[in-house]
């Protein structure tokens, strides 16, 4: 009896183990059948995984198979795991043909050899001929070059950011008698002094609420009219339109003025004592009735966007210019990783998503009649009974998809939103370094040390909790000791080399 149980036990274990090892090794080879359509894999992220991916994929393949003899598999990951998963997949050599580089980092992926040169053997010229025009010409596309080589294609979205923008709940402006225009669809341009006076007034009218919450440290590069030449402001252009000198932001007058303003606002009780420790999104604080205003970035459609997030009408003020940074076209481009089954087919697929409105609509808004309905004025909206939470395909990722400009406009946005965005990008001030992408490799040790020192001090300084004079002096002392000036020197020498390489005078 005992023996029998042992044998049974053994058999069960062995079979469990066998099944486990089979399933672990049972990856399909991802190869293409000789006569069927080529199977391609497209990877991108969404905030929440959609439930109707298969339905969208089938609908795309109904277009792709007859037209290009290829089918696509949508590989969607959520924002939190995208960076790690995509790196693991590529490192393991799994097939991915086109992917978005957000989170994973375009320059990091390129620096570690994950991405293919899109112009090798005239790849983009031969198989992606529609792409340059779709993204607004070669002058935009060139903005994604790393050391002269093109590894990615920018998405069609707002490349510039309206600087010095603040969102204020319209109800508070009404209460102080501020004349809010009607309809309130556009950004209101005012001076810093006027903004100061408005915030003072709403602070007096609603003393029990938090008046203003700066976003730190991200708000510094969003609010100030500087070009950080990369993600962090370690060596910036203080006058990006005219001057290519890389400077220390933290010793500049502009930075001192900005920090002093925050300090003054904090001393007036604008900012919650908990602001530094509390990481609740500002829009959630506004919709909860605790906060009246916060920093944002100006762009067409921002009023509708922020009003939606705050669940109440918002008014957007802007005190600075619209400005495009050096890396504006290189923030989250689409790329072809080295694990593609066939670069030519991958480029053909990418081209299709940049030029075919049907595919773009499927990718961004889903299937008509299922995920959206065409309204009488030409915009689209949820079918009856669905909303953002219940729809199986409503990702809010239009800006991250290849080409939203050839897709429908969603209800709530202006019918000419895409024209506005194109105009916004075209009219914005452009950094003279547009197209320069800093390679951090030679100063990685300094960046690691400077980042730690920066994060230690910047939030309390930027929230106006520290005296600007002593706080900024301490910041500079720490950053200098951590090697800030070695980063600045490296940036300057790379920028000078870039200027020569692109033939700018």
């Amino acid at each position: 009896m005992k023996k029998k149980i042992m044998v049974l036990f053994t058999v069960v274990w062995v079979s469990v183990f066998a099944i486990f090892s089979l399933s672990a090794c049972g990856n399909d080879d991802g190869g293409t059948a000789d006569d069927g359509p080529d199977e391609l894999v497209m990877a991108f992220m969404t905030w929440v995984l959609p439930s109707d991916t298969q339905m969208i994929q089938d609908a795309m393949n109904e277009i792709l198979i007859p037209r290009y003899n290829m089918s696509v598999e949508l590989l969607i990951m959520d924002a939190a795991s995208y960076q790690q998963n995509i790196r693991l997949m590529l490192t393991a050599g799994e097939q991915v043909d086109i992917m978005n580089t957000i989170m994973a980092g375009y320059t990091h992926l390129q620096g570690q050899g994950f991405l293919l040169d899109l112009e090798a053997n005239n790849l983009i010229q031969n198989f992606g001929a529609g792409i340059p025009d779709a993204v607004g010409g070669w002058e935009i596309l060139n903005g994604a070059r790393i050391a002269g080589t093109l590894y990615g294609v920018p998405t069609n979205c707002d490349h510039a950011v309206g600087r010095g923008a603040i969102a204020v709940g319209t109800q508070f402006l009404d209460a102080i008698g501020f004349d809010v225009p009607s309809p309130n669809n556009d950004i209101i341009h005012i001076s810093v002094a006027e903004l100061d006076s408005i915030l003072m007034q709403i602070n007096e009218a609603f003393p029990e609420m938090e008046t203003f919450r700066p976003t730190m440290p991200g708000g510094i590069t969003q609010f100030m009219s500087i070009d950080p030449l990369g993600a962090e402001p370690f060596g910036v252009l203080l006058d990006p339109v005219n001057d290519l000198t890389v400077s220390n932001l933290f010793t500049s007058q502009a930075f001192y003025d900005f920090i002093s303003m925050m300090y003054r606002w904090n001393n007036h009780g604008f900012i919650s004592l908990d602001a530094a420790a509390d990481d609740t999104p500002v829009t959630a604080l506004v919709s909860a009735g605790r906060l009246m205003s916060y920093m944002t970035g100006g762009k067409p459609g921002i009023v509708a966007q922020e009003s939606g997030l705050c669940a109440q009408p918002m008014t957007i003020f802007q005190t600075g210019p619209d400005m495009m940074n050096a890396n504006a076209a290189a923030r989250f481009p689409w790329a072809i990783p080295f694990t593609t089954a066939n670069p030519e087919r991958a480029m053909t697929l990418l081209n299709a998503f940049y030029t075919c409105p049907e595919l773009s609509n499927l990718l961004i808004w889903g299937i008509e009649g299922v995920h959206y309905e065409m309204q009488t004025d030409g915009r689209v909206d949820f079918p009856a009974g669905l909303d953002a939470g219940t729809s199986g395909w409503h990702n809010g990722m239009a800006w991250n998809m290849p080409n939203q400009f050839i897709s429908h406009v969603w209800m709530g946005d202006d019918l000419d939103l895409y024209d506005q965005l194109i105009e916004f990008n075209a009219n914005a001030q452009i950094s003279r370094a547009f197209g320069f992408i800093f390679d951090p490799a030679p100063v990685q040790n300094e960046i690691a040390a400077v980042t730690n020192a920066y994060e230690e001090l910047i939030v309390s300084l930027g929230m106006g909790m520290v005296n600007p004079t002593t706080g900024i002096a301490q910041l500079n002392e720490r950053l200098t000791a951590a090697g800030l000036y070695r980063i600045i020197d490296e940036k300057q020498s790379q920028l000078d080399a870039w200027v020569i390489a692109v033939g700018m005078n």
Binding site: A276, T451, N452
Partner: protein, 308 residues
């Protein structure tokens, strides 16, 4: 001679099912802990995906430099070691005390206490961070708005004052870890022969004397083993505890920045696989050396309790 051989064979045969039952566990360790070992090489190379881990260019110890090239190197190393030492001492003492107290109880109440004390260990650190925030928040926190006014003390800005955080973190870690830590001690305690205690009682020893002269000596091997295992991880900081609980507050870095949070903050922008691997390898090697050293010390003092 032949007899011995035959006997050996039967022994081996008899244990086949046992070996087979071990197989999944061994496979797990092989796949997760041994197969990735050659990947350590990435710490000495400038990783390039197209060349692979073993084809990437060799850079020697360049990837380790960022750990030492900074003025913060001393602070993060000191913080990591001191915190972990404090955690080991405080949690061990509390876990033994709690286990001894629990072992005195019986019936349903014991289960209730044991579950209640274990509960914090099951809460995500992110949530613990917000629980602490509910206590320490400047505007709406329990301590600043209820406790301190009651005691007549003016409010304290907890999230900008680094000097309080060693105590807060040790307290939070004890609150979270003691329940889990006492399980093993409690299991060991319950296995002790009750007759020791009975004879001690006959001799007139009270609870305190019983604890000091029976419980503690009997627990010694367990304590030493668990402490040795903790020392192996003394160079690793609990990332969640040091990152989430102080709400990633820059003003608190001088007492909350540890090796793991430093590496995270420094590399999140760079996304450099080789430098992260270098940091991990450095922590493992130092931990390994420390655990061997501690084991040598233990063997000198009490050879029976040493691990190897």
């Amino acid at each position: 001679m032949t007899r011995v051989k035959v006997k050996k064979k039967t022994n081996w045969r008899r244990f086949i099912p046992v070996y087979l039952m071990m197989l999944p566990g061994l496979a797990y360790f092989f796949i997760n802990n041994y197969m990735p070992l050659p990947g350590i090489m990435v710490a000495f190379r400038r990783f390039n995906a197209q060349l692979g881990i073993h084809g990437s260019p060799w850079v020697g110890f360049a990837n380790f430099e960022f750990l030492f090239a900074t003025q913060d190197a001393w602070i993060i190393t000191r913080n990591t070691i001191l915190y972990n030492t404090a955690f080991i001492i405080v949690n061990t003492v509390l876990a033994i005390l709690v286990a001894a107290l629990l072992s005195e109880l019986s019936g349903k109440l014991k289960n209730v206490y044991q579950s209640a004390i274990l509960l914090p260990n099951l809460i995500s650190t992110v949530i613990i961070g917000y629980l602490v925030f509910a206590f320490l928040s400047a505007e709406s926190g329990f301590i600043n708005n209820t406790v301190l006014p009651f005691l007549g003390i003016s409010p304290i800005s907890w999230y900008t004052e680094p000097s309080y955080w060693p105590f807060i973190l040790i307290l939070v870690n004890a609150w979270r870890g003691v329940g889990y830590g006492c399980i093993i001690y409690l299991a060991t305690l319950t296995g002790f022969d009750r007759s020791y205690y009975e004879s001690a009682m006959l001799d007139g020893a009270g609870r305190g004397k019983q604890f000091l002269h029976i419980t503690l000596p009997l627990l010694k091997p367990t304590i030493i083993m668990l402490t040795l295992l903790s020392i192996g991880r003394i160079f690793y900081a609990d990332f969640g505890l040091f990152f989430q609980v102080p709400m990633n507050q820059g003003a608190l870095f001088s007492t909350t920045n540890v090796i793991d949070t430093y590496v995270f903050r420094g590399l999140v922008q760079l996304g450099n696989i080789s430098m992260s691997a270098a940091a991990g390898l450095y922590q493992s090697v130092v931990g390994f050396i420390l655990v061997l050293f501690a084991n040598v010390v233990v063997r000198k003092i009490d050879p029976d309790s040493a691990l190897i």
